[in-house]
């Protein structure tokens, strides 16, 4: 039962079902993240949301240098850009997999959000990045 409760709680943490949520759909700039900092979290994938305008990866784990266990949501560019620039697919990273994620945190440190720089799947060593400016050339394969 405990095995079922954990992912359910983590998923619930991602939903703002309560009244008064702030709902701001938009494609936006990324300077709300502090790109001068890179944090690393070791944890378990809760969910990969493969949607426009920003794919997000939520991870339940511990940020290096901290003892707190928490769900963090890592934001990325769009699905199309991730396929092109980072070799992603909607099944690249699956719920339940152990991962290590490098990310730039939100400047508002009261919120557990960040911009994903790199995710490494622990079991395979496979790495995915998320820099849409990394490969600006035609004819990619």
């Amino acid at each position: 039962m405990k095995q079922l409760v954990k992912p359910a709680l983590a998923l619930a943490a991602l939903c703002g079902i309560a009244a008064g949520i702030s709902s701001v759909a938009a494609h936006h700039s990324t300077t709300m993240f502090d790109h001068s900092k890179t944090l690393t979290i070791d944890g378990t994938v809760v969910e990969l949301r493969w949607v426009n305008p920003h794919v997000s990866l939520s991870v339940n784990g511990t940020v290096k240098g901290s003892e707190e266990v928490a769900v963090w949501v890592m934001e990325m560019t769009s699905p199309g850009n991730l396929v092109r620039a980072g070799g992603w697919s909607r099944n690249a990273v699956k719920a339940g997999e152990k991962v290590q994620v490098d990310f730039s945190p939100l400047r508002d440190t009261s919120l557990k959000g960040g911009a994903l720089k790199k995710v490494t799947i622990v079991a395979t060593g496979q790495v995915f990045t998320a820099n849409l400016r990394a490969q600006e050339m035609p004819g990619l394969e």
Partner: protein, 283 residues
């Protein structure tokens, strides 16, 4: 019987009135303009156009560079707003230029998009389809029509185009005044009306597309602004554009108590980022 002449007169008058009304209405009614079905020759002519097939990605690093190297000639009021927006963006408080998942609109889509597009040719029309907004779509009429007398303002305006050799020349008007002219995802101001955009779209190399724009926005610019935006082509099938619904970023896919697959709102910051509702979860 004495009423008979009167009745006949009334019938005559009524008949005359109806006849005159019908003739007047007929004279006032504009002829219906028909879009004719394409002919085999029309389809054959499509084959003579340059090859713009494939998926086109924007060169975002060049967009970034032009923020400094080729800024729009903003008027004094707009320049102050843009300066403030850049200061806010630098401070980590970027303005949401496209709240509510509004389309990036024309010409901002061409100027600052991060997403791919494809370009379709059919007789009498060029269609641009983009990723992300769910309604990122430009219809460019190449059938010789002009702009409508009665504007129907829209995010992407009304576009007519013609070919000059291998260059598509597009003229766009009737863009809604709220549509921003933006140079980044956090710096742009509403055009406030009367914006016109002239584009010359052409292959600069085998897989490089240039969109040369001249933007007339008299309410916010001191003079027309010229810029070129660069797109590069992919042909690998894995880069095919898929459906992208911007507002889906506000929801998560869940299964409710009835077992139905539903969308549930997610909590977001004022900057538009998804964050966990609670601070932590047990492990």
């Amino acid at each position: 019987m004495r009423y008979r002449p009167c009745a006949l007169s009334l019938v005559f008058l009524a008949t005359s009135f109806l006849t005159i009304s019908a003739v007047t209405a007929s004279a006032q009614k504009k002829p219906t303009v028909i879009n004719p079905p394409p002919t085999a020759q029309d389809w054959a002519d499509i084959g003579k156009l340059p090859d713009w097939s494939g998926v086109w990605n924007p060169k975002v690093t060049d967009q970034d560079a032009q923020v400094k190297t080729n800024p729009p000639p903003w008027n004094e009021v707009a320049a102050k707003k843009i300066e403030q927006m850049f200061a806010e963006e630098k401070a980590g408080r970027p303005k949401l230029i496209f709240p509510g998942c509004f389309p990036e609109n024309h010409p901002t889509w061409m100027l600052i998009t991060h997403n791919a597009m494809e370009i379709l040719f059919t007789p009498g029309r060029v269609t641009m389809l983009g990723e992300s907004d769910g309604n990122r779509l430009r219809r460019i009429y190449t059938d010789g029509r002009g702009h409508p007398d009665e504007p129907e303002p829209s995010f992407h305006g009304h576009s007519v185009g013609h070919w000059e050799g291998d260059t598509l020349v597009v003229d766009t008007v009737h863009i809604i005044p709220q549509a921003p002219l933006a140079v980044s995802e956090a710096a742009g101001v509403p055009n406030n009306g009367d914006m016109r955009v002239v584009e010359r779209i052409h292959l600069a190399d085998k897989d490089i597309l240039h969109v040369d724009l001249e933007i007339f926005a008299p309410k916010i610019l001191t003079r027309p602004w010229k810029t070129t935006r660069i797109f590069f082509r992919q042909r690998a099938r894995k880069f095919d554009i898929v459906e992208g619904i911007c507002v889906l970023g506000d929801y998560a896919e869940r299964i409710d108590a009835d077992g139905d697959h539903v969308f549930v709102p997610v909590e977001k910051t004022i900057w538009g980022n998804i964050v966990p509702k609670s601070a932590g979860a047990t492990r």
